[in-house]
């Protein structure tokens, strides 16, 4: 058994878990945050993407014990209270989701992608960077549109703030 302790969405959590407990199962079953999903067992689908110390990570590839001491943000922690994160808002505005199952991972991966490209994104880059996130509903068309729109909005916002 392993003792783990981490900050999840700004809240300190911890406990004792089986050594083999993956971060995604810790978040879902011990912390009760079920927005992070499991869509495969080979780290391909990306439904489980969360941010670990500011970076997008597939939470099925990491043991909870490995994440101990880290700062985790999940889909539940992305919005600022009632105010949606610009990526969340863009997914809604551009119909970037249908069944919603891949969506939390998509949004967390997109947020990270946009942060890594502060000067903006183009369609080819977005499509290449989505390699690790599978969606079966949308054909990616509107996901790409949503990410490009969010990127543009955030770059514009960033420039304004600067």
């Amino acid at each position: 058994m392993s003792e783990v302790s981490m900050v999840v969405n700004g809240r300190q959590v911890g406990g004792v878990v089986e050594d083999r407990t993956l971060l995604v199962h810790y978040l879902r079953e011990h912390v009760g945050l079920t927005g992070t999903h499991v869509g495969c067992d080979t780290s391909q689908c990306g439904a489980c993407v969360v941010h670990v110390d500011g970076k997008a990570v597939k939470s099925c590839t990491m043991l909870a014990a490995q994440a101990s001491g880290s700062n985790i943000v999940t889909i539940e922690g992305l919005a600022n209270g009632a105010e949606l994160h610009p990526v969340q808002a863009a997914f809604k505005e551009h119909h970037g989701l249908q069944c919603g199952f891949c969506t939390p991972g998509m949004i967390m991966a997109a947020t990270d992608m946009i942060a890594r490209h502060p000067d903006g994104l183009d369609e080819a880059t977005v499509r290449a960077e989505l390699e690790g996130n599978i969606c079966r509903c949308t054909g990616y068309h509107n996901i790409v549109k949503a990410i490009l729109a969010a990127s543009a909005a955030m770059s514009a916002g960033g420039r304004k703030a600067a």
Partner: protein, 781 residues
């Protein structure tokens, strides 16, 4: 059209919970005392079970129970059934082999469930499942449908000699033979429609809870049709009478057909909950989904098309061998028959058609409806024939199609369907214009200068949706009626709840259905809620599949709205001392036309419930129910154009443009409709270029059982799509809707293959057209 009414691009009401991580899927439900299940599954494609030793597993940490098929049979749990009766051409009924939810004496495919282990944690259940010792006596296996029919092939079920489930005919053999006898040209093709795994992103799951005090069961399950699940589990599997069984399909992460069917796991979890006295939850992993979700397609077809000297189609002959897998899934028999062969007239005027379909058992996962279900297979046959014919006849593929289009409606085909409306030339013209079809030769030349092979392909598809008139499908063998039901509840404060038997698992019903209500009464869309997916809340329903939720589900809502409107007008006329015929409902009020007299909607609703001042004899309340049974199928149709560039050095195909011009009839929310088309095209392109379920022919092992081995379309495999609609309203339902959920998956595979074969100059190419196959085809040619 208001900003939230019919035709408006309303952003989806349901999105908020999904984008904030607050959606609730089956795996998100936790009940007090709940335990976790793992299934012991056959590692063999075909074997006798000599014995099962569960003692070691029972002694493992956390184990609550280990249950086998023998106990399940002792408790009287029934076998899984196929609910659509097909008769062979000799009049004999289809030969359905027994399918026990847990195998008792024999396993017939890799993944066949043998036992269930229930334990405190999922990890413990899996550990203990590995400790269940099953003694197997291996048998030879067959995975290919054509081989399974050959003499000496391994036999799966004693009920089905030679693995043949049925040998079915449609059309007129004599007239077709006569047409071929006088044909000027005959085009022949042999095609394989590759086996696909639906791959909804949420794996299947079931949570069964038996309440001892009430002798009542509740099942949370990943279902597209919870009421059908309850009906079947009550009527055939002996779980419990319907009044003692509640089925809830909460948020469901995609279905594409694979979640229509009732699977062993939900039956076994319910039964195991009673046996162990605890709620039992099973969540499949992705490999279990690959192994046990019903697969799609898997046809081997020989087809011939006869033309007269003027290039008009005068006859069509089709022979198809359909792989059914190891057991007959719930609607499996309808797919290669009434959902396939009835669409073999395509968009074309063909006077004589004859098709034969053989349904065949193999040692593979059961095969059933997957997005399009039969219609993609029919479209692939027709549109590969048309393209091949144009090449052989040396004429324009577009003009050959145009010459043969059906232009007058209604049009009775020789294969049952009566097309009610359409304008196929309009879709063809729209698609060719959007794709700049005329400019293609220049683009091909330009690509050639860069060392690339450029090709263009057309596909003119038709499908039958809005399934379906109950009496008609009953006469064709369906075990159920395919109506839909709705209830519209106007609450005393004027808010409105619509209860529907349709089920949304990505289609956006909570928005588009609410738009109907907003359009009708002028109330804000936020005051309308759509309730679905729970047999305790919704009276009855047939669920969502076959693009039926618009044409059938919404039509039921329209009928209920008609009744509510009629009663509301009576009340308003009484309150306003006006004539009922002068009342109009708009902008959230009931008004007397041409006057300033009106009563706000919420006040009218309150009046209906206070019942202080209602017309004489009127019942209080404002709530109405309707069942809608369609009068005909609907016939969405359209034209897709795919343009590709092939690198002859690597065989890699790049889709450089994809154009869709669809005719869906009237549209409620264009944004949602476009999203459906995008997703459908992605699945069709996946079939054409990337996806294929492969079994090892000797061992029967599924070689493509994970995302490392089965190629799901990724974002960088696809282009952005150009989609548009040119609509002819459907005359058969009150909203004039045809359905849009499957078109993309139906129309796109032949467009892609027609484009690649155009580029590389040979028709010898099978799906998926991987770089290796394309490279080899270029060299062989």
């Amino acid at each position: 059209m208001g900003i939230e009414g019919i035709g408006a691009r309303v952003a989806r009401k349901e999105d908020k919970r999904f984008i904030t991580g607050a959606g609730r899927y089956v795996d998100d439900f936790v009940l007090p005392g709940m335990k976790h299940a793992a299934f012991v599954r056959s590692p063999h494609a075909h074997a006798d079970i000599a014995g099962i030793d569960v003692e070691a597993a029972k002694a493992m940490p956390g184990v609550v129970g280990v249950l086998t098929g023998r106990e399940l049979k002792t408790d009287g749990i029934g076998n899984l059934i196929c609910g659509w009766m097909i008769h062979s051409k000799d009049g004999t009924p289809m030969k359905m082999g027994a399918w026990s939810p847990l195998a008792v004496d024999r396993v017939r495919y890799v993944g066949d469930a043998v036992a269930i282990v229930v334990a405190d944690t999922k990890g413990q259940a899996r550990d203990a499942a590995e400790a269940v010792e099953v003694s197997y006596r291996e048998l030879p296996a067959v995975t290919d449908a054509v081989k399974a029919l050959e003499p000496g092939a391994p036999q799966l079920h004693p009920e089905a000699d030679n693995n043949l489930i049925f040998d079915w005919d449609i059309g007129n053999a004599d007239e077709t033979a006569a047409a071929f006898a006088r044909a000027a040209h005959v085009v022949k093709i042999d095609i394989t429609n590759n086996r696909l795994v639906p791959n909804a992103m949420e794996p299947r799951a079931a949570l069964g809870h038996y309440d001892k005090a009430e002798d009542h069961y509740t099942c949370w399950t990943t279902s597209q049709n919870p009421h059908v699940a309850r009906l079947v589990m009550s009527a055939f599997y002996n779980i419990a009478p319907e009044n003692k069984l509640r089925v809830i399909a909460p948020d469901v992460g995609g279905g594409f057909g694979s979640k229509i069917f009732i699977y062993p796991e939900e039956i076994v979890c319910l039964w195991a909950s009673k046996k162990t006295g605890v709620p039992v939850k099973w969540v499949g992993d992705r490999t279990e989904s690959f192994l046990t979700d019903a697969h799609g397609r898997d046809h081997a077809t020989h087809a011939e098309m006869a033309f007269d000297g003027d290039h008009r189609v005068i006859g069509l002959k089709v022979e198809t061998k359909a792989n059914f897998g190891a057991y007959m899934s719930l609607f499996s028999s309808s797919v290669p028959t009434y959902l396939y062969a009835t669409l073999l007239s395509g968009q074309y005027n063909i006077p004589a058609i004859h098709a034969n379909v053989k349904a065949i058992y193999t040692n593979t996962a059961p095969v059933d409806a997957y997005r399009g279900a039969g219609r993609p297979e029919a479209t692939f046959v027709m549109e590969r024939l048309m393209e091949t014919a144009a090449r052989q006849l040396g004429v324009s593929p577009a003009e050959l199609r145009r010459k043969n289009f059906i232009t007058e409606f209604p049009h009775q085909t020789p294969v049952i369907m009566c097309y009610d409306a359409g304008d196929y030339a309009a879709s063809l013209d729209a698609a060719m214009k959007a794709a700049d079809y005329q400019g293609f030769p220049q683009r091909r030349e330009e690509a050639k200068r860069r060392g690339k092979l450029r090709g263009i392909g057309l596909s003119c598809y038709i499908e039958a949706c809005g399934i379906a008139p109950s009496a008609a499908v009953g006469s064709l063998g369906a075990g159920v009626g395919l109506w839909e039901s709705a209830e519209v509840r106007v609450n005393a404060v004027g808010t409105i709840e619509v209860l529907t038997g349709s089920h949304s698992h990505g289609q956006g019903h909570e928005t588009s259905f609410a738009q109907l209500v907003t359009e009708r009464f002028g109330v804000p869309i936020d005051s309308v809620s759509i309730v679905h997916g729970d047999t305790d809340k919704v009276q009855m329903g047939m669920g969502t599949y076959g693009s039926r939720s618009g044409a059938v589900g919404m039509s039921a809502i329209v009928k209920a709205l008609d009744k509510v409107e009629a009663k509301a007008k009576k009340i308003a006329a009484h309150l306003l001392e006006a004539d009922e015929g002068d009342i109009v409902i708009e902008e959230g009020a009931c008004k007397v036309a041409g006057t300033d007299k009106s009563v706000p909607w919420f006040q009218l609703a309150l009046a209906a419930y206070t019942a202080h001042n209602l017309p004489g004899g009127m019942e209080p309340g404002l709530k109405e129910t309707a069942f809608y049974d369609p009068s005909n199928f609907t016939f969405p149709a359209g034209c897709y154009v795919c343009e590709v560039e092939v690198d002859p050095e690597t065989g890699v195909t790049k889709i450089v443009q994809f154009v869709a011009a669809d005719d869906f009839g009237n549209i409620i929310n264009p944004m949602i409709v476009e999203g459906q088309v995008h997703g459908g095209i992605a699945q069709g392109v996946g079939q054409a270029l990337l996806e294929g379920a492969h079994y090892d022919p000797d061992s029967g092992q599924l070689l493509t059982a994970s995302y490392m081995d089965y190629t799901m379309p990724r974002a960088d495999d696809l282009p952005s799509f150009q989609v548009s609609t040119s609509n002819t309203p459907c005359p058969g339902n009150p909203l004039g809707m045809k359905g849009c959920g499957e078109a993309g998956a139906i129309g796109s595979p032949p467009a892609v293959i027609n484009a690649i074969t155009d580029a590389i100059g040979t028709d010898e190419l099978t799906m998926p057209a991987t770089p290796q196959k394309v490279w080899a085809a270029i060299r062989k040619h």
